[in-house]
């Protein structure tokens, strides 16, 4: 089949009114699920599973893909409005989205988030349709040392996150990496750093730590500020002014870069939307002409993270359809749905039944476009909550934080971790450490260590062999420059003085 045939074939699946209705339904529930804290994209797809029991395989995957894409987008709504990321991959969206909402620019922040989500999603859908075989080969050629190099580069950008405070940012990042080591080690399941606590055996999940450090710390800070007079006031007036075309045009290259990086990260099994959005956020900080503004509420930060996490959705579908290897947890759920229907996934699927690819593509295109309309509506409803007096809103945020950290794993331990993280968040800001860097370290730590350790064994403990590969070698060289440069340049500045 030619690409054009694939294209038309895919949309013909969606012409069926029932399937189309189901996709619209999927977009609505997907966005809401995504927006609610504690329901990750994977859980959203799993919640969608029962609806597919009575469907044919192709409409089933079309439906699940729609839920998946829209839930990733929905996560940005709560991230911007309440500093609680609805899905983990929206975590970096809070860095700039929440300050914008605080300034009363919630509408613009949401507009950027939804628009760039759609762009990222569409680019990756197109890449999936046209470049699947090439992308698959690329994904397979990534060895553990290459994946380590990618994550290491993400970490090396740490020193650029806050150029005035390199040392403290570095300490925060390292602390994050150390926290990622808590629990059973990734290779031999040996317990580390649990201090004898059974509740830490499963390690520190990113979500409770993140919700604690962001949302709960924020409420605690507000608690200090509030007095009786303001108890009846709402937090911020919600301005629904949308971003202008000029603002979009200003970030065109950012959107392009993040779409590409997001798609590639999405393809790699083990990495996914969350890693993609963190990596894009930090690399855009590095590339930006005004890195100091990141984190203070600029559209670039939101666009980077939201473009990347939606681009990763298309990426995640590539290995699933072309190899039968899911590119992430949500894709794994879709795989189990297809297997239940007797579809044999594997390299032969696309050769024999290319309509799976074309239908998935069509679903992603329709979802990414319709989703913007649906999500704006849903965001407006959520934004109403901001007008609620803080004496109601603050406690609600705390309850959402508790439920959100509990629901991921039905774990009381996670709730305790969340509460303690909230207190630690206060200490972090009192010590001028960088909470974003800490979360970055925590997110990348597990992948970084696991792949380093695998690469180390495979290359038979030979570090030179380990990085004597085109991708890994280049990336490691770049990383070292990135890591050393800010420190060196600061030293130069000092000696000039």
């Amino acid at each position: 089949m030619t690409t054009w045939e694939l294209f038309t074939n895919g949309f013909s699946v969606l012409m069926d009114p029932y399937t189309f209705m189901m996709v619209v339904f999927a977009i609505i529930v997907g966005t809401i699920f995504g927006a609610l804290p504690g329901v990750s994209a994977t859980m959203a797809v799993a919640l969608g599973l029962p609806f597919t029991y009575s469907m044919q395989p192709i409409p089933a995957i079309v439906f699940l893909v729609a839920v998946y894409c829209s839930s990733i987008t929905g996560g940005s709504i709560t991230a911007i409005l309440f500093k609680i990321p609805g899905v983990p991959s929206s975590a970096p969206t809070t860095f700039d989205g929440y300050p914008m909402a605080q300034r009363g620019e919630a509408g613009k922040a949401l507009g950027i988030a939804l628009g760039s989500s759609a762009i990222g999603g569409l680019v990756s859908a197109l890449a999936m349709l046209t470049l699947s075989p090439q992308l698959t080969q690329a994904a397979l050629s990534f060895s553990p040392s290459d994946i380590f190099a990618i994550t290491f580069m993400g970490l090396s950008i740490l020193t650029c996150l806050d150029s005035k405070n390199i040392l403290r940012t570095l300490i925060s990042g390292l602390l994050g990496l150390l926290l990622a080591c808590v629990g059973q080690d990734p290779m031999y399941a040996v317990q580390r750093l649990t201090f004898g606590s059974g509740e830490l055996i499963a390690g520190l999940e990113m979500i409770p730590v993140l919700i604690g450090i962001f949302a709960v710390t924020e409420v605690l800070k507000q608690t200090k500020k509030r007095d009786k007079l303001s108890a009846e006031e709402g937090t911020a007036s919600v301005n629904t002014k949308m971003p202008s075309f000029k603002e979009w045009w200003g970030i065109k290259w950012l959107l392009a870069r993040c779409s590409v990086i997001g798609t590639i990260i999405g393809i790699l099994p083990g990495a996914g939307a969350t890693i993609a959005s963190f990596l894009c956020y930090s690399s855009e900080t590095k590339l930006s002409k005004y890195p100091e503004k990141f984190g203070t509420g600029i559209i670039d930060g939101i666009a980077a993270s939201e473009t990347a996490n939606n681009a990763a959705t298309g990426g995640a579908m590539v290995p699933l359809l072309s190899l039968g290897i899911p590119g992430g947890n949500a894709a794994a759920v879709m795989m189990s749905a297809l297997v239940l229907k007797g579809v044999q996934l594997g390299p032969l699927l696309l050769v024999n039944q290319p309509q799976y690819l074309s239908a998935t593509f069509a679903s992603m295109v329709v979802t990414n476009i319709l989703m913007v309309v649906v999500a704006i509506g849903i965001a407006k409803i959520f934004a109403q909550i901001l007008a609620v007096p803080y004496s109601y809103l603050g406690p609600i945020i705390i309850m959402l934080a508790i439920i959100g950290s509990y629901a991921t794993n039905m774990s009381i331990a996670d709730v305790k971790i969340m509460a303690i993280a909230g207190v630690i968040g206060l200490i972090i800001s009192a010590c001028h450490f960088n909470s974003a860097a800490l979360i970055l370290g925590l997110v990348l730590g597990v992948i970084c260590e696991g792949n380093f350790s695998r690469a180390y064994t495979i290359s038979r403990a030979n570090l030179v062999n380990m990085f004597a590969r085109p991708v890994a070698g280049t990336l490691m060289a770049v990383s070292f420059v990135l890591l050393i440069w800010p420190i060196v340049s600061q030293l130069f500045k000092k000696s000039e003085k």
Partner: protein
């Protein structure tokens, strides 16, 4: 008319009495089955179709609750905290036994939980990467073994945590050989590493890689079981080569000790009925679970668990990581 009403009353009473006599235990609300592994994984995708069937048979919601983390320990602790009222069960495999023996669970899993019924008993297969095979020049399991003997620490083997069931199965199959063991956090990462030729061989079930085997990217070398698999009649099996390694993941339902016996009996009955259902049978074929007898009742499953406990205790003892010795003399 009066007579008729009276008859109706008597009749309904009789029916009620008969009903309550035959069904000693009736599930009155939602039943939760805890799955220690994530949605979309092998364990979860075994449990979900079963839960769906049980729901029809028992007439109550049967809900799969995924409690992940700590290689299954989080789920064990979660179920242990729930009351043993017959409304919370959990899925378990030998991996939980291994965590128990290594002392990561706060209680003795072996004493505090009772096996209810086995759902499936899968076969582990040693598979090889086509890319790597071509490079290293072995074609069968025996040739591979020879290669490893000549070139120690050159063949890398992928598995999911080396102190897990895969590690134990592998250790038995490649006794005395020097290999590089590489653990992966998920099957998908390991599968793509194998197809890409970054690792040479791996140990897994065959369900997730059927398509890749069909396409020839992954080559099965040895099935760790008693007789050759129906699917891959050309692939040797461990017992025929004189290798004593038949460990494969057995997924079954466990209940906390103290759960009413009637509830367990009712569940076992329902599972047995569901196991005969054509949709379940079709699922077994799709998931490659039809090679070994799947369903086993409480007594049979308990005996199998006991045997595995002994075997895994020996293995972990030899590895020097045993903390709870259930067989200390």
């Amino acid at each position: 008319m009066k007579k008729f009403l009276l008859m109706l009353l008597v009749l309904s009473l009789v029916v009620c009495a008969a009903g309550s006599a035959s069904a000693e235990w009736k599930f009155e609300r939602k039943i939760s089955i805890v799955c220690p592994w994530g949605v979309g994984g092998g364990a979860d995708s075994t449990l979900r179709p079963m839960a769906e069937l049980l729901k029809k048979i028992l007439g109550q919601e049967v809900e799969v609750v995924n409690v992940t983390g700590g290689n299954g320990v989080t789920a064990v602790e979660y179920v242990y905290k729930q009351p043993a009222d017959g409304y919370t069960f959990m899925l378990g495999t030998q991996s939980l036994f291994m965590q128990d023996i290594q002392g990561t669970t706060s209680m003795n899993f072996k004493d505090e939980f009772i096996p209810v019924a086995r759902l499936v008993h899968a076969i582990n297969v040693i598979t090889a990467s086509k890319k790597a095979m071509e490079k290293k020049g072995y074609k069968t399991f025996s040739e591979m073994r020879e290669y490893v003997t000549k070139n120690p620490f050159e063949v890398s083997v992928g598995m999911l945590t080396s102190t897990g069931l895969d590690g134990a199965a592998l250790k038995q199959a490649l006794e005395g050989l020097d290999i590089l063991d590489v653990s992966y956090p998920s099957g998908s990462e390991m599968n793509s590493a194998l197809v890409g030729g970054h690792i040479d061989i791996m140990v897994t079930g065959t369900d997730e890689i059927e398509g890749l085997i069909a396409a020839g990217d992954i080559v099965p070398l040895l099935a760790l079981c008693e007789k050759r698999m129906k699917r891959y009649p050309d692939v040797e099996c461990s017992v025929e080569l004189g290798i004593n390694s038949v460990l494969g993941p057995a997924r079954g339902i466990f209940a906390k000790k103290g759960t009413p016996k009637e509830a367990i009996d009712a569940l076992v009955k329902a599972i047995e009925e569901a196991s005969k259902d054509p949709t379940w049978q079709a699922f077994l074929v799709q998931g490659c679970y039809d090679e070994r007898p799947g369903f086993a009742g409480p007594e049979e499953y308990a005996a199998a668990c006991e045997a595995d406990y002994k075997l895994l205790s020996d293995y972990l003892k030899a590895e020097g990581v045993m903390k709870k010795d259930y067989y200390a003399k």
